[in-house]
Symmetry: D3
Subunit: 341 residues, 6 copies
């Protein structure tokens, strides 16, 4: 069992019931989620010792977030308690030609106002094997980029593997700022997750022959992008999830892992009837971390990560409520849609 520390923001998520639009009837579902928290829950579900580090307001909403993670056995004992509010987001589920819609309300959150002294990385990293964060955390502003830097440094010094999911969000910061800060952070990163859009917008690396908007995906283009990322940052492993999005409820999904030598591509899943796509990238990242922690080879790792991500599309909420056994079964069989009795 590896001890994996993740660091980021967890938010309250509010979604209308079913396929309703926001405020259509007022029936809503509340849950919690955030990129790094989602990774932690996946790892805990797979059986790892997952730690989620964040800052939460010391009131009912903040405790609600911590309790939701406790439900999955994620260790939240390093939480910095303080601040005024938990960030939140509204998420409307799309169907067919109507895309899913996320509206964020996270300004002034407890996490955004975190200070470096809120986190004692020496203590946090005790017995840890892996540290994971995403590009969302430094994008949140305040001192978070600096705190990420400190965490990466501390992890490096202790010989802890560092992974980063690029996760570019244009609403949070402009491309230039993202490029500057992410370039600095990636110096300490061993394993990089993302997709071709992230690579292009964050680092200006274009997957030739690929036009995501038009649904054209080029295998060789991806590989070139990955090679360039490796060359530029010295990543030990690079993992991309590849998606062709036919509609909000029908996607094709595969994964690609590059260890500097070999490109391993997973089987492709035709995903019909998507229930909730939010967090599927985090599930992929968690699968990659899990496979590498277990010492699996690239093919086995990318198959597992892609199967985990494919399953996430069938689960409501941010968290990927699937077990290691369920993911392995799908990775092995490719899915047959039969009832399990």
């Amino acid at each position: 069992m590896s001890r994996v520390v993740t660091f980021g923001e967890i938010m309250l998520r509010l979604s209308p019931a079913g396929w309703q639009r926001l405020f259509q009837t007022g029936e809503m579902r509340a849950c919690f989620g955030g990129a790094e928290a989602n990774v932690a829950v996946s790892l805990a579900n797979f059986g790892e010792d997952a730690v989620f580090v964040t800052r939460l307001p010391d009131q009912e909403i903040g405790h609600g977030a911590a309790d939701a993670l406790g439900r999955f056995g994620v260790d939240v004992s390093h939480t910095a308690w303080g601040g005024d509010r938990l960030g939140l987001y509204f998420c409307e589920r799309g169907a067919g030609v109507r895309n899913s819609l996320c509206i964020y309300d996270r300004a002034g959150s407890a996490f955004q106002r975190a200070k470096p002294e809120d986190f004692d990385w020496d203590t946090i990293f005790r017995a840890a094997d892996w540290f994971h964060f995403t590009g969302i955390t430094p994008a949140l502003g305040g001192e978070l980029a600096r705190i990420c830097q400190e965490a990466c440094r501390a992890a490096r010094q202790k010989g802890i593997t560092v992974s980063c999911d690029l996760n570019y969000r244009s609403r949070l910061w402009p491309e230039e700022e993202a490029r500057r800060i992410m370039t600095a952070l990636c110096a300490d990163v061993d394993v990089c997750m993302g997709n071709e859009e992230d690579a292009e917008t964050v680092f200006g690396i274009h997957s030739s022959g690929t036009d995501v908007q038009a649904g054209i995906l080029s295998g060789r283009g991806y590989e070139k992008t990955m090679e360039e990322l490796r060359d530029r940052f010295g990543f030990r492993q690079i993992a991309f999830s590849l998606r062709a999005s036919h509609s909000a409820t029908r996607n094709d999904l595969s994964g690609l892992l590059y260890d500097g030598e070999r490109f391993c591509r997973s089987r492709e899943y035709q995903l019909d009837h998507i229930v909730d796509r939010v967090g599927s990238g985090d599930s992929f990242a968690a699968g990659v971390i899990f496979g590498l922690c277990r010492g699996w080879d690239g093919q086995k790792t990318v198959e597992f990560a892609t199967a985990a991500s494919a399953l996430k599309h069938s689960i409501e909420g941010d968290f990927n409520r699937v077990s290691c056994r369920e993911v392995s079964k799908l990775a092995d069989s490719g899915g047959n849609g039969r009832i399990e009795r």
Copy 2:
């Protein structure tokens, strides 16, 4: 901003929750809808000054209908209050091979018992630019065909554009009666909406090479039908929505607009995971009215109308809860299924 007056019946709609059959558990969803009311709500959502004229019973159910329209900013100040009941219909959502099912209970409704003196068209049409009704209204019997005639005449005299969606419903009247009355009404109509079935059943105009039941659609057949409609009635614009229905939850949809000179055909949408198809024709009609009011050319208009109709398939209830921006975005991009953040 154009002022568009629509005239028709609004009903209470009762649907079982999810994909349940009627009375399977007793959980139901109540909303309001009706062909012309749906058009008014769409236009209000697009930013137009929409007026809905009807007759409602002066009790909680009638006021519920008016309030539901007020929620979208539709002007209901010309409502004739009176009568005993609001018409209603039950609507079971289909899935796969099980078709959606609508059961109407509208006999004796306040609207069906409307009298010509309930509506002062001079006042109603003050400052109006457009008048819209559908073939359902005269089909309801009583004095409604006569009232429609009066409204069309009044609109014509004031130089208001008149549009009509043929909307043939075999349960409401026999073909011969529909033909007789609709032929008379269409003399005052400038813009005609419908589909090839309406044209055939109402006016006996057959789209050669098309067999809707078998899913065979012929572009040239449609065009001939439209030409004949123009020749016969002198319509300035004719708009058809074309649908290939693979199952209750999977359709292909496109639109065709003919201005007497040019045939403009929209892109075709593959609609998977249909949430609720009721009212999608009304959304198409509203899109046509909106484009023509804005002075858009035929292609832009039919792309907008078809995108609006495509989006409706993802929305629960009769009303198309989408904004002008959302429709335009789909019309421009064709939809990529990505999450909007």
Copy 3:
């Protein structure tokens, strides 16, 4: 109107709401179901005089099961009241690559502890035309195999047609035991329902050229299997449902009926947006029984049975809440997905 007696276990079924995982929120839907009870409900819905024979605990849960059948007009007056509990099962609805999941908790149920003296077959079979059971009943252990044997014998003696759906469940008994007991029981069976997997696991008869896991279905392979079944057991009719399972929510379905002379294959349905697949085999069996009771030819029978089964995929719960008219309409038209108004 034929009188059809079915014999088996009915259970309480508990499912999370929507596409939630078990205990994700605690919202659940309770209904009742079981292979033979499902057949009885289908037959009652088609207009037959359906009798369901079982043993139920004389408390609220047992009475709940009886009342649920009473809702459909199934005759439960021959229920043996006694025992401590009603068996139950949990059923999670799958979507896309996530399969549906059923967890049974039926040990020690009132039915499993039934005794031969609980059922007076002479009385039960008065005026009966048909007796139906499935391979699940003898698999439940206790004295149920023996009771099945007695029922079959009694039916035979009275000239009642006996049908059996093989319905192999690996969790309930090992293949060898199934083979031994089902072989004995099939001696009294006139009409056999099942699929190629049942034939292979229960009787060791392989459909050559077919690999269900891989989605390869061979028409000729099925026919050979059916011929062998007829040769070995002397069945008068054999009916198979053939399924290609692309995902939990997308299947292709057809049916095959063999009367010892002719193979009748139904049209194939592309089922998208599957709502609930549990009980679809029972719907097929009920359709076969219904067609044969009515004296329909093989083609009409298998078309009806397959249409009934296809419709079941759109219905929540075990019971197939469709009428004879609805099934016939689909069987005749193949489904066009249009709204019925």
Copy 4:
């Protein structure tokens, strides 16, 4: 087991979820109910052979009503199928100072358009012991008063006991008409149920010393009213339910039975937390019928009837979903609020 025939209208009832107002969110609960149908369900729950006679439209809504009664084992085989619609009513649940609100939409229902020839009383009353109707049925107009008269005559001729619950509804008919028709009908009635308001408005008999609006109830006043009713109509038994209504959710309830000699008054229940009061009078009537059918004395009968009515206040929907055992237990103990395990 006595065979009790009831005759009246059953309606679809639509109620907002919880304590919402109509159309507050659109979440509604559908169930079925009507005074005489409610009596039939109660009697079936108590173990009697209950028959409900009505006219229903032969479509999904009418069949839904019949199925809902079938769930409780009520015999609906004498239903006259025909007409266009099922009557319905909307029912908003009150709380505290906000009264419950019922809005009826029953004009033109299948039942209101019933004809005498729809009902063959000779066949219906075969093996029957009791016939029950309420003042609502003749109040519905059309030929219903005449049909009631025919039914009463037929029952009388066969020696069947006839009971009538006065159930005056001012919305349905004026006092004078009610008086005229009910006076005629009561000539054939053996057992009369009602309350002091009914007696006053229908027959002009005032309970002196009682002011229901002011919450003043006078025992002796009631007795005088009952004596006068007996003198005037020769009723064998008269049963009143007495209610002091403190708020929509808090009432005091007792019952009074007069057999021409003795006045039997039940214990009084302080009902807090009323869930749904609709149908509580019907539960009382059913309890009276049940006790008299069983040959119980007046005190036992009125205690049972009042306990049944008290329990109804805790049950959602029109139907009193309680067993004979539960009612007897409350009648014996007076209720202690303990959990039954």
Copy 5:
């Protein structure tokens, strides 16, 4: 019909379903509310021309708030669109000894960041008769106290009646600051609403003989407080709601109105089964405004206001979904808990 302008913040309100605690299952109900918005909705429901002035973010959440008011016919055309977020609050419904709990998250809301130039009072007050705000608005900080001052001045100059509900909230500002600012604002106020706690905390005026925590209410103490308020500020009318809170679900409520000469006290309501108490003070204030606008005398006004407030306790959400007719009926009758049919 009077034109009443109210000014304040409207928030999104999120409440767990039923009596659940926050995040117990994740089922939530979303609605909108805020002290002044609640007053506007009440007045619109009573038939007045109600205007609500606020600042809203120009995204889905802000538009949701405006649409919710449009549903009731409140005029929101003077909305200042801008800012980043809508304030929100979480509200857990109490029962018995568990109090209701409200958690606010309104920092940084669009309204809190309003500027004086966002509101053109000259235009807003065109044709207005009344201006209403509460002590919450200046307490929100930023420039809101100054904006309130400007609005009051403008109203005064135009001869518009100004009313203020003291509405002290200790979480928003300290007593001293409240006293300073409210004292200044009250110079322009004609009609003051509040309760004895407000008077004590805001202005240091103690109701002798009253101990709210202990449930001791002294009529004469209130009167003295009111006299002192009138002497100090020259209010033309002062209205207090008086509440004895036995539990979260059981309160006694009455109202007191003082016009400088006469004290008018309403009847007292025993409120059992409280559904939702939030907004009941706003309902009282709206009732006072309504009565005074109509020119009613003090007694009629306070009876109406108290009845409106009593009814609010039975309504879910902030808005008092009752009509003028319903309030008058309760005010006249005192409530009898009978079903209205």
Copy 6:
């Protein structure tokens, strides 16, 4: 922070939504609960280090139970995994005169089939301060009485305080057997919780002057019972919860604690609008344990325990979702029903 170990069965609880009867609509709520698990959750909520020891089946239902406890931070690491099923119970919520109803289905559960070797008390009790069980555990049969004995012995030897809640359930065992086994177990018990019924049925000690069914409670009678319990078993502390049950939704509640010298009686709570009473005794027991662990005096302890129990009546489900702060606040103030903002 004390470490408190509890030992018992946890079950799946299934309740109809709202105040529905079982299977009225099929909407159910699933949660988990059991006497000792409820105590553990309360203690964890109060901030103690709570350990729950049980045996669970290693499938989704068993893991669901463990996860539900993990949500509250209860340590379930000592769970013995094995067995076939989780026990479950159905629980219908009562209202007014209709009592709550619990139907158990726990035979053959994983816990009932536990063996002594499943639990290594030496390891379990490491660092523990307190051990708690209830009379339900030995009543479940199998080897559970023996396992309880071993646990008590082990606790005693380690100087761990042992508490037992008598919790007599007549459905589980006869009085004589209960008396024999509980007498033996109580030899090792330091702190005894229960009520006068338990004392009478389990140990034959009658509270003179008390008739629970009739609602007569005698303070002195209780004290005598407690004295006799202390004399007979040498308990260091005895705590009784005293309840007068007016209806299913209205109770009066107080607590009594006897330390061998002083009788401390808490304030009495008038509980209206009871939401869910199940588990209120467990909340009382947890409050007693918490107070004694903290070293509080008898009066403070019994006030806290009674306030905790009173709050439980307002919470859905078995678990008492309240914090130490909330309980203390109620214990200090007695509850005023005001909204907390």
